[in-house]
């Protein structure tokens, strides 16, 4: 939290940005609290980024450390690119939440905790031998001890809830307090509560009472001065209509938009898996957008149904995360061989195997680019933020239908769950890329290629005069009949490769995100490392260092100018949340000595980690 220069609002002191984390038991409703605070913050015109951190268990026994659920938000009057390296304010609803989150609090940061939950039983469940409120373990932090439990029960007592239900309003009490702290308009939260509990007005009113009580408490509370009532000016952001957007929403709407722009219905076939299921859930209700969702019996059936859908003339989309994508590889080969459009969304998570399903990682790039038997080229696109997921998904659809090819669309658990304010585009401004199915029987050859794109024509079954057969055995380069001819196989292999490599001509040249073409150091990233790299590079540039940020969306084929661009820097470093995967592709393609910077602990990079990596090469 940087000190603000001018107090803009009466007695409030101004801060340019702050990082708040709400942490509590899975049952404490921390995700809702965080989302509501995000909403109010967004409406206040701040820029922001969030990072929800779920426990792996569905509902772990109350009070355990592994049952802690947290939601972090970073907001400010400046452009916000990450959810923040360190926490300024930690709201800890119980000892376990304190224990698992305190290490991320900056020295001198503020802890607001619910003493009512610091019972001996809860302390011991959290593994505390002595109470941190009594021993010296919290020295160096500012502590605000509040009996939120009691005060909540007190606040809602007129609403006729039992003690257990009353206590469940505790998160709203905390929200009220933090709303007060940053001068949020809590009517937004009130409206939401009324809508959510439409059928249970007494519950809505109890929650609102708690919210108000927390807010009122702020006025009288004894905050350490530097944490007193703060004011965060609206960020200077592009004018327009905004909404909060998660990566899963961004990807879902981008796919729907892509299908619309192609003029196609969509068949989305998936099988639940964390964190990919969010996409299925988001799309399932969108039946008025020509979306049919199909929950298949497994990932293989899902991709096969999606390919069947494309074969029949829809945009086939399938989605999973690493282990599920692994199961789809054989069928992916068929989509490559039959040259049908398909979008395969991979919401990456920690691996190998079941790994860390609820943690984030970028370790499926190898799988996307190389992970198939045979020479099986396809296109790979990665998004780098929730808002970017929308545009990247549209681009994935465009390439799929224009080139009659599967496209792997890489996102990850972090992007999927994180949210950011998003300037809503006008759909009419997108350039459509309507598909023209072939209907003319005259001279039709199944594998004849468009001279520009090298794509074959797309024919819907049901089209009179165009009866034909396709399959996974090598096919004659014109008729599509089975062919065992050696030269034909060479020709088809070359054509499949040329088609995919040719996409490079149809994508934007790689730009430098921040900095200049050429110089000392380029930091090259892809996917969800965007925020920390961007922030680290701009910070270091502000300090006069010659360092630039390049972020790659088109992982395969790579932009045509990328090799030249990379060669224009003395040093290229590549931070990835894996053991070094993009770096392999870049080194092999361009023979540039790119240096890997790796982190594989299930958490996004902190800005300082990128800064350190840059420092090491200065």
């Amino acid at each position: 939290m940087e000190g603000g220069a001018v107090a803009a609002q009466s007695s409030r002191h101004e801060v340019t940005d702050a990082v708040v984390r709400f942490a509590g038991d899975s049952g404490d409703g921390m995700q809702l609290t965080g989302t509501q605070f995000t909403q109010a913050t967004a409406m206040a015109g701040n820029d922001l980024a969030t990072f929800p951190d779920f426990p792996a268990e569905i509902r772990a026994p109350a009070g355990t450390t592994y049952g802690v659920s947290a939601f972090q938000i970073h907001f400010g009057s400046k452009v916000i690119r990450t959810s923040g390296d360190e926490i300024d304010v930690l709201v800890a609803m119980n000892p376990a939440a304190l224990k698992t989150n305190i290490d991320d609090l900056r020295r001198g940061g503020l802890v607001i905790l619910d003493t009512g939950a610091f019972t001996a039983r809860n302390l011991s469940k959290a593994g505390y031998e002595t109470s941190p409120l009594e021993d010296k373990s919290l020295e160096g932090y500012r502590i605000l001890e509040i009996d939120m439990s009691r005060m909540t029960v007190e606040a809602v007592k007129d609403h006729g809830l039992g003690n257990k239900d009353a206590l469940r309003c505790k998160n709203m009490w905390a929200l009220g307090l933090i709303d007060w702290l940053y001068a949020r308009d809590r009517t937004i939260n009130e409206n939401w509560l009324r809508q959510k509990f439409e059928k249970f007005p007494e519950v809505a009113e109890a929650n609102i009472a708690a919210l108000n009580a927390g807010h009122a408490f702020g006025e009288t509370a004894d905050f350490p001065t530097e944490f007193g009532a703060a004011y965060v000016a609206p960020a200077r952001i592009e004018p327009g209509t905004y909404r909060a957007l998660t990566g899963a929403e961004g990807a879902a709407m981008g796919l729907v938009a892509g299908a619309k722009l192609a003029g196609l219905p969509m068949l989305f076939a998936g099988y639940p898996i964390t964190p990919a299921s969010a996409l299925l859930h988001t799309l399932a209700p969108l039946k008025d957008f020509g979306v049919t969702t199909f929950q298949a019996e497994d990932e293989i059936a899902a991709i096969c149904a999606a390919i069947g859908g494309s074969y029949a003339g829809a945009l086939g989309v399938t989605s999973s995360s690493g282990p599920g994508i692994a199961l789809k590889t054989e069928a992916l080969g068929l989509a490559i061989a039959t040259e049908l459009p398909l979008v395969v969304v991979n919401s990456q998570r920690g691996g190998p195997s079941t790994g860390l399903p609820t943690k984030t990682e970028q370790s499926d790039l190898y799988q996307a680019v190389y992970g198939r038997n045979a020479d099986s080229p396809l296109a790979v696109i990665a998004c780098h933020s929730p808002g970017d997921a929308y545009y990247a998904a549209i681009e994935a659809c465009r390439i799929a239908v224009r080139y009659m090819t599967p496209v792997i669309f890489l996102t990850d658990g972090y992007i999927g769950n994180a949210s950011e304010p998003w300037r809503i585009p006008d759909f009419e401004e997108h350039t459509p890329f309507p598909v023209r199915f072939r209907t003319d029987p005259e001279g039709y050859k199944v594998y004849e290629r468009n001279l520009e794109t090298l794509a074959r024509a797309w024919v819907k079954p049901g089209t009179p005069g165009l009866l034909h057969r396709i399959g996974g055995i090598e096919k004659d380069h014109l008729t599509g009949n089975i062919s065992y001819d050696p030269e034909n196989h060479q020709r088809m292999t070359d054509a499949r490769r040329a088609k995919i490599l040719g996409i490079a001509k149809d994508i934007p040249a790689q730009e430098v995100d921040h900095g200049q073409n050429g110089g000392e150091i380029a930091v090259v990233g892809w996917g969800s490392t965007y925020g920390p790299i961007s922030r680290a590079v701009s910070g270091m540039r502000a300090n006069g260092h010659d360092v630039s940020h390049i972020h790659i969306r088109h992982i395969w084929p790579l932009p045509e100018n990328l090799g030249e661009l990379l060669r224009s820097y003395k040093t290229v470093i590549v931070p990835e949340m894996n053991t070094g995967q993009l770096v392999t592709v870049l080194r092999s393609e361009y023979l540039v000595d790119c240096k890997p910077v790796n982190k594989v602990n299930g958490k996004p990079f902190r800005i300082v980690e990128i800064e350190d990596a840059i420092q090491a090469h200065l």
């Binding site: 909404r243 059936a301 009866l467």
Partner: protein, 343 residues
């Protein structure tokens, strides 16, 4: 009315010009003949028909049908077919595959297509062997089958295709035999007309790797005594002069073969085939020579009110009609809380 009269297509009009590459004498030839005859009989529109298959000798089928065809990957044909039907329920989709394709690697997809009741006609060619990969035993091979992978005889007991389908809640289950050209097209036509997933096991001789596996009930001289044709509403009789029949033992609830005229047995003892009876269908499906004749024909047919993809479509339409966004992308993008940032 200014209607163009299409001349009726003949069986051979459903054959492609591609050279058929099954081994000479393979049972698949007879089956494709029966299918092409059925297509002509039912007046199928080639442009509206799709044959989908997995991998195997049987799965080469689509190449020889003058319709749309999709030769996919091993075991997954029902999943492709499901996707096709979800996008275009009006297409007439046939799935063809071998016993390995449909019951070994693809067993699960077969099961789920059946229980979902996707409106496809699934023809499973059972030759009790893996033909294309040169003769390994399959999940329908009888115990003791010697094959390259079981040189000392197989050990696992086989799965019965029709019991399996019934266990997966099939609503249409039938059996035909490659050599029964007089009978097979009728079964296929019934299967095709059933709305929902119709599952047909077609007994098929693999002349190269499992020749004669079925001769004990398909050879001319034995077939009358070892096959029973199940016809809804008719007595379950068999034998050259239809003097043999099936009776139900009311204590054990098992079927028994009896001879009319012997031990006081009359036609009244014989059960009438009721193709809507799930319990009987199960018992018929399990019958095997030598103790029983093989049941062929439609063993079970009890259509659901609606097939899967039709119901999906209906739900899609109903929900879409009620939706407030009405398919408007800008409305979707703006759904939920929004705020304006002014210049």
């Amino acid at each position: 009315m200014n209607e163009v009269i299409q001349p009726a297509l003949k069986a051979k009009d459903y054959a492609t010009n591609q050279e058929v590459r099954w081994c000479p004498g393979c049972g698949d030839y007879a089956i494709i003949k029966a299918v092409q005859k059925t297509m002509a009989d039912i007046g199928a529109d080639p442009a509206n028909t799709v044959f989908v298959s997995g991998i195997g000798c049987a799965a080469r089928f689509p190449y020889y049908m003058e319709t749309f065809g999709f030769h996919t990957i091993h075991g997954r044909a029902p999943s492709f077919a499901t996707g096709i039907k979800l996008v275009n329920p009006d297409l007439d989709v046939w799935v063809v595959g071998g016993d390995g394709d449909g019951l070994s690697i693809g067993g699960n997809h077969t099961m789920h297509a059946i229980r979902r009741n996707v409106d496809i006609t699934y023809l499973l060619f059972n030759n009790e062997i893996y033909g294309l990969t040169k003769g390994q035993y399959s999940p329908t091979s009888r115990r003791g089958t010697r094959s390259p992978s079981t040189p000392d005889g197989s050990i696992d007991s086989p799965v019965n295709a029709l019991s399996f389908a019934l266990g997966a809640n099939a609503r249409f289950v039938a059996r035909g035999i490659d050599r029964r050209q007089d009978h097979l097209p009728g079964v296929l036509a019934r299967a095709h007309s059933h709305k929902g997933c119709s599952f047909v096991e077609v007994i098929q001789n693999c002349i190269v790797y499992n020749d004669g596996a079925f001769e004990h009930f398909t050879e001319k001289d034995v077939k009358a005594d070892t096959q029973i044709e199940c016809v809804h509403g008719e007595l379950l009789l068999f034998g050259k002069d239809k003097k043999r029949g099936l009776r139900l033992n009311h204590d054990s609830l098992e079927l028994e073969t009896v001879i009319i005229g012997e031990n006081g047995i009359t036609e009244d003892d014989i059960i009438v085939h009721d193709e809507t009876n799930r319990t009987i269908a199960g018992a018929l499906a399990r019958m095997e020579p030598p103790h029983f004749p093989m049941a062929i024909g439609v063993l079970y047919c009890d259509p659901a009110d609606q097939s899967y993809e039709k119901a999906v479509l209906r739900q899609n339409r109903a929900v879409a009609e009620k939706a407030t966004t009405k398919g408007d992308m800008n409305a979707l993008l703006r759904r939920g809380a929004t705020w304006d940032v002014a210049t």
